[in-house]
């Protein structure tokens, strides 16, 4: 008999989610497509004047990343609740928070990482000055996991609902505000020639905290919210 160990359960969870994401690769890439669409609409709405677009670029890319991270969040736990696999996860002899942490990590890997990879392209579309690319990528790299952690904690609260519709963005928005402020703000600060690393470090501090607390909070939320 092989008892389930924490690493083995985590690996199984991660493997399952990545395999699921691969089997629905079209759906998995939707957030990416969404972000590209949002960014591409900015020049069409504002005109193609280089200076103006460059000024708006950090904010626009960050807003696109934030909106994209909301995509798929609704189904993150509900899909499992609907087919009963969430029950099985609750009954597994490993902490639920660990399993949820794996799911959040997989969600970030499949949803946000591709976005960071094509962020240089998005930056080019909006004429972001080259020296701002490093702050942008760094802030996204630290900020998007934080968005996923906060967003999935909120998504765990709505797991008992049939559909959440606009509810999830409404609940997530207040939590996203500081991340957006420091994320886009760090690039803006770099654009103004100010110290930008401070804001990224604050984000990193928040990420460390959320890495510990968000899975625990999400596990508690699921136990409360599941009918």
């Amino acid at each position: 008999m092989s008892a389930p160990t924490l690493p083995r359960a985590a690996a199984a969870m991660l493997a399952r989610d990545l395999r699921l994401a691969w089997s629905r690769r079209g759906d998995t890439l939707q957030p990416l497509l969404f972000a590209v669409l949002v960014v591409a609409l900015f020049p069409l709405a504002l005109g193609s004047e280089r200076a103006r677009l460059a000024m708006l670029a950090p904010g626009a890319i960050w807003v696109a990343a934030l909106l994209a991270s909301l995509q798929g969040l609704d189904a993150l736990f509900r899909s499992d609740a609907e087919d009963g696999s969430l029950e099985q996860q609750l009954l597994a002899p490993v902490p639920l928070s660990l399993l949820l942490a794996c799911r959040m990590f997989a969600h970030w890997l499949t949803g946000s990482l591709p976005l960071i990879l094509i962020a240089p392209l998005l930056a080019q579309l909006l004429f972001l000055p080259d020296h701002l690319l490093v702050p942008l990528l760094l802030s996204l790299l630290v900020g998007t996991p934080l968005l996923v952690l906060l967003g999935s904690t909120v998504a765990a609260l709505t797991v008992g609902l049939r559909r959440s519709g606009m509810l999830l963005p409404l609940l997530a928005l207040p939590l996203y505000v500081p991340v957006l402020v420091f994320g886009a703000g760090s690039v803006m600060a770099a654009a103004q020639g100010q110290d930008w690393l401070g804001a990224v470090l604050l984000l990193a501090a928040g990420l460390t905290l959320a890495l510990v607390l968000a899975p625990l909070a999400a596990a508690a939320a699921i136990r409360i919210a599941l009918p």
Binding site: L157, T158, P174, V181, A225
Partner: protein
């Protein structure tokens, strides 16, 4: 000590709480309105005009108490929710959820009066002043709690889930405030702010104290009123609810 625990347990039983709330509610509302009348009278007619802001700063006598209350109510809600979640006390769930609309009302007043104050001061109805921005986010937090509670059929589960959200929001509130201030310094915001650094005149303090106390009392009265209504709604099928309803009608007809 034992007596207090006993009293608390008795108060926690729905009929007792309902009776207690019905008896004391009018007193809280009455005292609140009395203090409010005195405070507003003094604020409007007794306090001298500010040399910088003119008479518009008389709005602050209602704006500031409501702003404080909007935060106070949120903290109260989150604390009640925490108690409800840890010790599974049903009355605390109800009290927490009863806080949400009251807090939202205070937040709406704060935003509206702040914006009306800002029109002559800033020349615009809205300014991304850090305090107003935090207040706006606070309103979203309140709306989120109310909407989440409303969207879940099971009343108890709805209250517990929304209470958990309120607790998360409480952790987030100082972070939002700090981030918005940092953001404002980055973008160089407005110079005059509500409740700025300017020293408060001594004559302002007394009317402000009156309106603050009035709003506190109003909160307690409104909380009792909402909680007893929610309690009655949840336990409409129970015998005590029927007794109260019948008793109420005989008293009303007499």
């Amino acid at each position: 000590m034992n007596r207090i625990v006993l009293w608390f347990h008795q108060l926690g039983s729905p009929p007792t709480f309902h009776r207690y709330a019905t008896r004391w509610m009018p007193w809280y509302f009455g005292a609140s309105l009395l203090l409010l009348a005195v405070g507003v009278w003094a604020a409007l007619f007794r306090v001298p005009a500010d040399y910088q802001q003119g008479d518009s700063y008389r709005i602050l006598f209602i704006h500031v108490p409501c702003a404080w209350m909007s935060l106070f109510v949120y903290v109260t809600m989150a604390v009640q929710a925490a108690i409800a979640l840890v010790w599974r006390i049903k009355l605390c769930e109800i009290l927490a959820m009863a806080c949400a609309p009251i807090g939202a009302a205070f937040t709406v007043i704060t935003l509206a009066t702040g914006s009306i104050w800002g029109r002559p001061m800033w020349g615009t109805w809205w300014d991304w002043d850090p305090r107003l921005t935090s207040e706006l986010v606070l309103l979203f937090l309140y709306i989120g709690v109310i909407a989440l509670d409303a969207s879940i059929e099971d009343r108890r589960r709805g209250a517990r889930v929304a209470g958990f959200l309120a607790m998360i929001g409480l952790v987030n509130l100082p972070i939002i405030h700090y981030s918005v201030q940092w953001w404002n310094s980055l973008h160089q915001g407005s110079t005059i702010s509500l409740m700025g650094k300017s020293k408060m005149d001594a004559s302002m303090i007394l009317p402000l104290a009156f309106t603050v106390a009035a709003m506190q009392l109003w909160f307690v009265g409104s909380l009792l009123s909402r909680a007893r209504t929610m309690l009655l709604e949840r336990e409409a099928g129970k015998a005590w609810a029927r007794d109260i309803a019948v008793h109420d009608s005989t008293r009303g007809n007499a």
